[in-house]
Symmetry: C2
Subunit: 529 residues, 2 copies
């Protein structure tokens, strides 16, 4: 039997557009001789639809979209994700359609409600497994989390004779995720002695990136076909498998996730262009490169906004990186505006020494200028902060944190350097002088990040241990870190929760980002340091 | 038997402080002759502890705090909420302590995972009901949601002979909630033929306010004792009941919730004072009044920031309201800063007509000034937006939206007027001229809210139908609203999701605020208008 894995990129809420895309892919699969085409989890609504699911009309509209798809499935088998309704309950469901008729509806048995997932907020758990007979072959149905569970529906489906298991997914990317998927699929294939057809969603959705990488394992647990990551694809397989996509290396995988995250945010929200404040530092340089790689150079606008503390090198480096990228750079100095603020505020500030207030003002003037250009020209502001800064609050609320999307939000500074090196591997885009220069916010004379933060090689592993692994101070110190440093870093992370709460979304790359998977109270007197 | 209901205000994460408070209340209860004292749900951790629960050390520390409480319970019965651990699982639990020993641990059977609640993210459901014998009386144990469920643990406990049911809560306030509680308690009392002792938590926690209002119903479903809302209290009852607290009217209840919300945010986060941008409009006036009522006048700082578009009346009204309140007002004009921005931006704006960019700039200058004062003096910025604005995005990101806490975030404009009238009932604090003046943002000549928004009497019910009740456009039109108006409002709500995502937390008053109970995707092409 020829099966098509339709690894598509739907848009959340675009029921009509998604249905059209699904119908188009049914046509493509038919043309290529497939008898069955399999779509991702909740392909009709996009994933995650979040509280759209609480709108009864949305559910009704999704059912109408399903009807259109059913009509368009003449002469084909189709397995597609949608939201089913039963009385007051909703189900994360898969419709198995044969030749223009729904012959089975499967309700997801295992609803993830951890990390970025909130499925128990919306859905009731299905309690049945589903086996359908299609062209003389028994197929077991399931959805996403079902495959991760030892005692999931597939066990019963295999016992009932399923030879092929269809597992449809909206599995978000994080570093190393594809290896975890392969492991579990191989294991489940062996346990069920069935082929596993794993279809993943594609595309960026706010902070999440669905990386595709759909796969087929045979009943011995061997990978016999796979689709690319980060590309819409119709992968055709038969009993012997099909094409096996080459695997990108880890940095390339991360880089592609960042590109897809920002591209889909821009395109799905229909922005014409983006604007980036470029500082001469490595973060804004990398942000500009990623944006250019995602959107092409004509849609990228960069602004260099020098102050009296900006080094000449900052300008030179900004010029060279934007030149390398072929993107326009304007210069808008903030000195006069800053002076005007200081003189306006002088009566209130009188007698007080300069402090963080003056530093933040400069960052906020830059934020205002970017937002003014955004408001004037309709460009999305991309902010340029990294995870090391976001974690510790080493950033200015409404200043460098201003913007609609935060490209590097989940990239620790040490990984920023690795990505730059990787991106420069064939041709230098980001000049070596940017890489070599010690990081600085340039908000006062001679300022360096390392005056406030420990070196990034020390900081980043502490952040990882605390943020991703929920380690205690004692446990982190036991790894060999200095007690005072650990306490300082964790105190900074805890006390800047209010900033994280008001931060822009940005692509999730690590197993735990500052998005749906980070729900810390702001008012919180737990102090473990 | 004398029972004490300890309606306390814990702080999330402050395990030591909360344990101390609990121990102190055990002492008070003992002194007043009580044999049993009952504390709220998760009294040891505060509620909701959110992702603190994912830190193993936090759970361990909470168990240590419980041990201290157990030790301090000599000669007393105590029922107190804590987090229990069993292998890899966590339970939302209640410990029943008798004379220095835990004699029973109840695990919450019914875990809410809707609205503002995420309990299935953290906890495993308990499956057993618990009855303890204490001083010859059988007591049924349970937690919060258990009482809302027909087939909850209390049914079995009553069958097992429980004469008194202890229900401990962290039940957040919204308008009308207390009536819902009374109804369900009366019903459950009758069904179980047992006394119901309902102990609620007190206090503000980020966006939530726990309003207290603990109650006792007898086995006939009659209210026989009640504690105040919004006050820590130790309510002592015996078989015949106890004190019945007077019930505030609805506006007073809302006003007190707003006071508690801002006061606890300020106090628990240890801010010395707050700063408010006062505009001469009704929202900032009400915000200042609430802040003064919450914190006293010496901790309130107000700044009037006129532009060339500010009417003389704005200044006069600001002076009179701050005078009435006895709070200091500074004047910081933004005109020169605004001019400087315009001349700096002139090369980029050349040939473009003035638009929202120039309007937002003014709001953002004000935001910057408030943040600069906040950074210089350590004051919390209270922002002054209301729910009508927040819903529709009729507000400036990083401008009037700047701030750490949003006092009126969940108060629709029409309710702002009602609260002002109520607050003025005995003595006028907010002058009539503020009330009478048509609302204006004063960001361009002659601007009125009603140029952009429909009249608030039309807008607010549309917002309620869409935001709180999940009604569709068709359903809202069917209520008698104009189609074009409904479409416009809903489009504004949908398209400003990115602003809501970056907004400051603010006290939840309605059944659905823009906080944990509002999880809409930003990237969302569902258009029902």
């Amino acid at each position: 039997m020829k099966i098509a894995l339709a690894q598509i990129n739907p848009t959340v809420g675009d029921l009509e557009g998604n249905a059209q895309k699904i119908i188009e892919y049914i046509g493509k699969a038919k043309k290529q001789g497939a008898e069955l085409v399999v779509f991702p989890e909740l392909a009709i609504t996009g994933y995650p639809p979040e509280d759209l699911l609480l709108k009864p009309q949305f559910i009704t509209d999704n059912l109408s979209a399903l009807k259109k798809i059913v009509k368009a499935s003449q002469g084909m088998g189709v397995y597609v994700g949608f939201v089913d309704r039963g009385g007051k309950d909703l189900f994360n469901a898969g419709a198995f359609i044969n030749n223009g008729k729904v012959i089975e509806v499967y309700h997801k048995n295992n609803l993830p409600n951890y990390g970025v997932f909130d499925e128990k907020r919306y859905f009731k758990e299905g309690t049945k497994s589903s086996v359908v007979s299609f062209k003389g072959v028994k197929l077991g149905l399931g959805i996403c989390e079902d495959i991760w569970v030892e005692e999931g529906p597939y066990k019963g489906e295999a016992r009932a004779g399923a030879k092929i298991i269809l597992n449809i997914n909206a599995s978000p990317y994080h570093v190393g995720k594809i290896g975890e998927r392969e492991k579990v699929l191989a294991k489940r294939a062996k346990a069920t002695k069935a082929h596993i057809v794993y279809v993943n969603m594609l595309g960026g959705q706010d902070e999440l990136v669905f990386d595709g990488g759909s796969m087929v394992f045979n009943s011995k647990g061997k990978l016999i076909a796979s689709a690319s990551q980060y590309k819409e694809e119709l992968l055709i397989i038969d009993e012997n498998g099909g094409r096996i996509a080459p695997k990108p290396d880890r940095l390339s995988e991360i880089y592609e996730a960042l590109i897809m995250g920002v591209r889909d945010y821009v395109e799905k929200n229909k922005f014409g262009g983006v604007i980036i404040g470029i500082s001469g530092g490595i973060d804004s340089a990398l942000t500009a490169v990623i944006a250019r790689d995602a959107l092409g150079n004509s849609r990228i606008h960069t602004i260099f906004m020098p102050s009296e503390y900006s080094a000449k090198q900052s300008l030179d480096d900004s010029i060279s990186v934007t030149k390398n990228l072929g993107v326009k750079m304007d210069v808008i100095p903030i000195k006069d505006i800053f002076s005007q603020y200081l003189s306006t505020l002088a009566p209130n500030f009188r007698g007080k020494p300069a402090n963080i207030a003056e530093e933040n003002l400069q960052a906020r003037i830059r934020g205002n200028i970017l937002m003014a250009l955004s408001n004037k020209f309709g460009w999305l502001v991309l902010n340029t902060g990294n995870k090391s800064e976001t974690s510790t609050g080493y950033c200015t609320l409404y200043g460098d944190m201003a913007g609609g999307f935060s490209v590097l939000k989940d990239i620790p500074k040490t990984l920023v350097y690795k990505l730059v090196k990787w991106r420069n591997r064939k041709k230098v885009v980001i000049p070596q002088s940017i890489i070599d220069r010690p990081p600085t916010a340039e908000l006062k004379p001679g300022q360096l990040d390392q005056d406030t933060l420990p070196p990034y090689e020390v900081l980043d592993p502490i952040i990882k241990a605390y943020v991703e692994d929920n380690k205690s101070v004692q446990q982190i110190i036991a790894k060999g870190f200095d007690k005072a440093t650990v306490s300082k870093v964790i105190s900074m992370i805890d006390r800047s929760e209010y900033k994280k709460r008001q931060s822009a979304p940005g692509t999730r790359i690590t197993p735990r980002a500052f998005g749906k998977d980070w729900r810390l109270p702001i008012t919180n007197q737990y102090r473990s340091f």
